[in-house]
Symmetry: C2
Subunit: 219 residues, 2 copies
């Protein structure tokens, strides 16, 4: 599938989001926008997720960073196409940046595209990238008070993943309170707790992704 | 000391920063701007720091948050004046917000004023608040790759504190690499590792604050 970019698309965030969405829907590529604070474990979660998907699905990644391509290198090591966006200090990805990268992918061949956003619990939440789902990752050491303290992020996401549950014995984090805070802020959001490091809880996340992919190909 | 705000000060970030700095210098109040990702432990570090300072110093806090005054309540419980700034979604404090809050303090009576910035490793770094020192807090669970990955923050700070060293046995974090990465990005920056939770290493941080206060009152 050839993708032609028009200049007016690149001028406007919302036009670009719709442009991206149209392409993702046409090619039946499930697109998941992953957001979190720095160090919540998005890249490690993606590594483990990709390992569990690559036998059945063609996966690709758009990797957002302020600087360096360290995370992209980690994902390329798994043999998946990974396209880097360096924002050079910018605190979020926007739909125009994604639109510019679409021609680098053969979307028809890609089943699931993950977008790893800039590590930031504030800025990325306001930007529609044309994705099917927005997923927020919050890690146990950050504390469960981050859901009410950063409501804009958690209000706008389809799922919140609590990562690093292997650290629950060492740091205070109330999983039940986190779930009920999320329920209050965003009643329709999914809530999953897991550890990308130990693999605990990953199966539920993989099941959710497979179902989301099926939904996406049915449209 | 009465502080009169002029409208042009509030219109301009840099004018406001200089306005703030002038007031802080006149009253000989040491001002430290604390920045980090969400959940790196700024508030806990401030709690433990304040407990170790209040016998000798009058301490106050400006507490930045997107929403809620949970952190301000934690600090008020220690008996220190804490003024809340809610940015309603804004990802950093700026000098104008600080300038507007200055009249709420009797600066002549305050020895050390901490500004707890919004939890964000990107946006706050670009804003001079008129402080004497900028301190970045990075926590062990975030991983030591965050220094090269978020260079803008670490390049612009006077000190980087590595917090939560009590978690070093449970998560991969290379303290030496962190120190040498910081050295490379910002050779003049101080580097301290501590655990606000266990108290390990806090003495060095308190010593640094006391010396910084002495410098500030000498000017």
């Amino acid at each position: 599938m050839k993708v032609k970019l028009q200049e007016d698309v690149l001028k406007d965030q919302n036009l670009s989001a719709n442009f991206n969405r149209e392409h993702f829907n046409t090619s039946k590529t499930l697109v998941v926008n992953m957001m979190s604070s720095p160090g919540a474990g998005k890249t490690t979660l993606l590594e483990e997720t990709i390992k569990l998907l690559v036998d059945q699905y063609t996966v690709a990644v758009i990797e957002g960073d302020l600087a360096t391509d360290r995370d992209a290198e980690r994902l390329r090591a798994l043999g998946v196409q990974t396209v880097q966006i360096n924002t050079v200090g910018g605190c979020h990805l926007d739909a125009r940046m994604i639109a510019k990268k679409i021609p680098e992918f053969d979307l028809e061949e890609i089943d699931i595209l993950f977008i790893e956003n800039i590590g930031n619990l504030v800025c990325p939440s306001g930007y529609d990238l044309g994705q099917h789902y927005k997923v927020a990752v919050l890690s146990v050491p950050e504390g469960n008070d981050k859901i009410p303290k950063y409501p804009v992020m958690f209000r706008r996401t389809d799922m919140t993943i609590i990562n690093k549950i292997d650290l629950l014995p060492y740091v205070p984090f109330d999983l039940e309170e986190a779930e009920s805070d999320l329920q209050f802020i965003n009643p329709s959001a999914k809530f999953q707790a897991l550890s990308a490091k130990t693999g605990e809880g990953l199966d539920r996340w993989i099941t959710w992704l497979k179902e989301a992919y099926q939904q996406c190909t049915k449209q």
